[in-house]
């Protein structure tokens, strides 16, 4: 059983997702939230396994919320759900700790599979094209490049910190800075 929380600012999307996911065996939508303020109390009350998170929310972007969700204990799996067609958001999504990224134009069975996969602990991320990673590399601080490379490779933050002999909180801070830098491009879309 996958206990799921849906976060999307658009009513049509919330209603559609709830209806579709309720009908799918093995997935239980616990509730919906439309904003950051909405999300935190619902999260504390329902303790979901998976959060299906819209990338663009009013007042807060999905990346920041994703970071926040992944800091919760126990942290839910997060599937970023986005209407952006391009792959530019995959790198920042990985840095934000998202377990998966899915385009909103994907058919329902693909959504079900992605939700099951992230609930199992798998990552559902499209392969990061070389050019995209290189482009991201030019936008971050050169000293952050090792962190970028390791995180994109799937190394957990704690292990990155160990490898670099720094505190995990420092790695976290660097990640925040990198997300902020990479985010600009997406916001301008």
């Amino acid at each position: 059983m996958i206990r799921l929380l849906i976060v999307d600012d658009h009513p049509a999307m919330r209603a559609g997702l709830t209806a579709v996911l309720r009908a799918e065996p093995g997935i239980i939508p616990l509730g919906t939230a439309s904003s950051e303020e909405d999300l935190i109390p619902t999260l504390n009350r329902t303790k979901p396994d998976v959060v299906l998170l819209d990338y663009h929310l009013p007042g807060a972007d999905g990346l920041k919320l994703c970071r926040r969700l992944k800091r919760a204990v126990p942290a839910p799996a997060v599937l970023l759900y986005s209407a952006y067609a391009d792959g530019a958001m995959v790198v920042p999504a990985i840095l934000a700790g998202a377990d998966g990224v899915l385009n909103k134009s994907a058919p329902a069975p693909e959504l079900f599979d992605a939700l099951r996969a992230v609930a199992r602990g798998d990552r559902v991320l499209p392969p990061v094209p070389r050019e995209l990673l290189e482009a991201a590399g030019t936008r971050v601080d050169p000293e952050d490049l090792p962190i970028l490379a390791m995180v994109v490779d799937g190394t957990p933050v704690v292990e990155v910190a160990e490898a670099l002999r720094v505190e995990p909180i420092d790695v976290s801070r660097r990640l925040d800075v990198m997300i902020e830098r990479l985010r600009v491009e997406i916001a301008a879309v």
């Binding site: 049509a12 999307m13 209603a15 559609g16 579709v20 209407a83 058919p107 329902a108």
Partner: protein
Amino acid sequence: MTGRRGERERDRRALPALRGSQRWFALLTMTRLLGAVLAIALLLAHRVTHHDPILALVTLAWTPLSLLLLGRTQDAPWAPAIWALDACAAFALVLAGGDWRSPFYTFALTTLVLPATSLPWRKAVAWGLTFSLAYGIVALLTEKLPDDTLTNTIRLETLATHLFVPVIVTTTLAYSSLLLERLRTARGQSERLALQAERQRIAWELHDSAKQRVHAAHLMLTALDGAVAGEQGRLLVDGAIGELRAATSDMETSVAELRTPLDGRPVDELLRERAKELSRTGVARIDVTGRLPVLPPLVAAHTYRIAAEALTNAVRHAGCQAISVTLADGADAVTLTIADDGVGMPAQPRPGGHGLRSMRGRAETIGAELHIGPGPGGRGTAVALALPHPGGSP
């Protein structure tokens, strides 16, 4: 209401751009008529020469004739030759008067208006200096040596004034013209920015609201997969899903269009860029040959989208190795041909494939002829677009 107001506003804004050169011509007409009246009045009031009435008649005839000639040739590339001719005619009148302190001086000054306001400012100032120099020569040719020093001083002073005024007039006019031009550029820029902001807003609304609803509907329909019984029902659902996908891709195109309009860049340059982008995917080699003339903005936008869609189709569906884009600026029509060496058109259109329909719609909008069929020698697909020539009647 707002539409009509918007139109009126646009008309008002379009005026200065249209009238920039006409305004300077109006100044020329005004000053030249004034100069002619002044010259004729002086000729008739004072006895200047033995042939004053003839000179007055010549002035009367030459003034409208010169204005007509200057007006007709104002925008021609060889207009400076006409301006020089005009100046020579004025100098001839001065010489005919027999004295550099001539009733035709003001008249001669008016020959500076068009060069000063049309030429780049450095050339304009050079023109003014040349005028002064030429006037100095005329003065030397018509000078009668004075007897005493006082008269001499007064003469020299008057001559200096005569020689300085053209330079001052030219510099002032050139400077005003430059300022007006800059003002117009700045206004154009701010208008473009406002338009850009509005486009961004519409793009955002399309993306944020309409597209989300379409996504929701698409998701719900795809969830029906397997739940719908019967061939008929499944066909309907598949059809609806195809339509929704097409709607999403239409919206993406519109959003992309709104966000990156052509911005006045030439279509052939953009097409070469797009071809390079698509070549990089490694599917097919794309060669672009020839060039296009400058097209009006709307025609340019649709032409580019039609060609870009044809290129995308060829790369995605034709299974081809090479695509050739041929651009030609013919005498009657501007043509674009996009030919590939792929599998050719499918007998049945692809479900949800609205590309061809939208290409036809665009072509119709701009009054162009679109022909889609087998490529040369019956291989592949060729898309040919023929636009009426932009230089022809509107």
